[in-house]
């Protein structure tokens, strides 16, 4: 009798541990698939960003080129007041050039947490292009449906301290492996931002969301709508683009 109870307990614990290990593996696999869809060696895209302020809404269009996780150049195309302004990211540094003042200004420190052009995105949000698997460990916390799609809800916990959001929740399309919703939390558990992702399309053998709605939960306003109007992955970008000389 005693032996059978012991055996049953052992089998139960082993089962629980193996189930946990399986879920952890599953979460890591899902995150890898998400990275595969969203990350690329090179990327060129044009986008429009509509900022719904409390009083007015305005749209800014831009063209961005990124290489890996560490280099990016964005040029603002319209409206006229912003046209010609460029932002360059090199490693962890960010420069902005504006033709109106003919100055290149480096943005650093706490300024990186400020909003970009009154939007719900911060410079930090725009700069952090690292793969999720590099930064977070994941666990599956639920399975659900969102906007009619089957989703897996992952909780991501940052492995290092150099991240803007120590904890994230991500509702991932269970078939396309693209996040349909993201919630970013502070260490205290306060919800800081929410992103809803729409219009997932098949582009160059990957799934990619073409429209994102950002909400800074600490701000009043109607959120920021970010729409990718055209995108090309893994195309050749000349070396000189990612240098300070290209700002002027």
């Amino acid at each position: 009798m005693k032996t059978s109870v012991l055996l049953f307990t052992l089998i139960s614990f082993t089962g629980i541990f193996s189930l946990q290990a399986q879920e952890s593996n599953e979460a890591a696999t899902i995150l890898e698939k998400v990275d595969k869809n969203l990350s690329a060696q090179n990327r060129i895209f044009e986008s429009s960003m509509t900022i719904h302020g409390r009083r007015t809404s305005r749209t800014i269009t831009s063209k961005s080129r990124t290489r890996g996780e560490k280099e990016a150049l964005t040029e603002y195309l319209s409206p006229a007041s912003e046209a010609g302004t460029k932002m360059l990211k090199l490693e962890n540094q960010l420069w902005i050039y504006t033709p109106s003042a003919d100055r290149t200004i480096q943005i650093s420190g706490h300024m990186l947490r400020q909003s970009v052009m009154g939007s719900d995105l911060s410079y930090e949000d725009m700069m952090d292009d690292r793969k999720l698997t590099e930064v977070y460990s994941a666990e599956v916390i639920a399975r659900d449906t969102l906007r009619g799609e089957r989703v897996v809800l992952l909780q991501l916990t940052a492995r290092s301290s150099d991240v803007a959001y120590p904890v994230q929740k991500m509702w991932i399309d269970a078939e396309k492996f693209v996040p349909l919703r993201q919630e970013m939390y502070a260490r205290s558990g306060q919800l800081l931002k929410r992103v809803d992702l729409f219009d997932v399309r098949r582009i160059q053998n990957r799934w990619f969301p073409m429209r994102m709605v950002y909400r800074d939960m600490l701000k009043t306003g109607g959120g920021t709508e970010f729409t990718v109007t055209s995108i090309a992955f893994d195309t050749l970008i000349p070396e000189h683009i990612f240098s300070k000389a290209s700002l002027r």
């Binding site: 409390r54 009083r55 007015t56 912003e82 504006t98 003042a101 200004i105 300024m111 009154g118």
Partner: protein
Amino acid sequence: MKRFLLKGILKDKGRSLLPVIVVSLGAMLTVFLYSWVKGVMGDSIEMSSNFDTGDVKVVTKAYSLQEGQYPNDLALLDVEQLLKKLKAEFPDMDWAPRIRFGALADFPDSLGETRAQGPVAGWAVDLLSKDSGEPERFNLPAAIVRGRMPEKRGEVLLAENLATRFDAGAGDTFTLFGTTMEGGFTFVNYTVSGTIRFGTTGLDRGAILMDLQDARAAFGMEDAAGEILGFLPVFHYDDRMAQEVVSRFDTLLESENSLLDQDPEYSPVMLTLGRQAGMAEMLVYAEAISGMLIFLFVLAMSIVLWNAGLLGGLRRYTEFGVRIALGEDKGHIYRSLLWEALMIGSIGSVVGTFVGVALVYIFHNIGFNFSALLQNASILMPGIVRPAITPAIYYIGFIPGVVSMLLGNALAGRGIYKRQTSRLFNELEV
């Protein structure tokens, strides 16, 4: 009797001079210290009014809820029209549109690259108009440490501490990087015309002052302003007067629909200084502290003068005894003592109040300069403090001067009724 007593007081200086001097000194000190306490408290509130709150302030409803963040996206629009109405409705008041902002100041090296940068808290006020009262409100000519006042567009004043930290001075240029009213980027180059020090850490840490038109151009705020400050035509803030202005403004808004925004959130509202963040508590605190100090001082002076009256009365016991012996009615002696006290108290109070008021006027014009002591203060305190001129200075000295003198003598005079002629003869060794 009264004329006889007055003659006695005026001619018998040995009896009246000392009490009159004591009462005069007491009344004078009371007047001056009352005025001083009111002045210190009033000047602190006045400084907040000049720099931050105005005596009244017009903002949008939405702006008023987030005022500490300078939300210029919620600023007032059609400001010229609103100003015209305000000036017509309240011609005695001074109205000043302002823009408060937070931005990043970036100082370039010789190659135009970022050499130093830091956040700044800015005031955009009318610096260049000839009839503007703003430079005086900020006490700018006296606050300039290096350089000069801005004389043309594109010139700004920078806090001396900030300039030292960035190794910048008059003539240097920098780029201000901020956000427009609509949320866009703004990068504008400015020249430092001079550096300023207000004497309070809070302001000197990162203040920048520029002309209103420069800020309007930089932040895309043509014919807009974050706030319009209104200043009452009195030296120190008067809450009742400010509340009257607010209720008249509310009536004006009801009759002038053109001043209202389609969205009530962006319609103008007027707030008194006392209704702005932290100021209600400050007003209550200032009232309580000044009231307590004045009460304690008047009480102390009253005790001193009461004691003087008491001693004066007691000194004259022998005289009262002789007068009783000569057949004078005790009630008549007591009444004459009180009349004398009233006359001495009144003469002393008039003289003391006159001298006190004269001193108040003199020091109100000169002021006491405490700037050196306030260099590390983190709250808004004026560097130069002046005694306040209020209606109360003309009567406050009479409280200890007349009332206490009268009370002291009344108390001392009670002895008249206990006076025995036989004891008097004993005292006089007859």
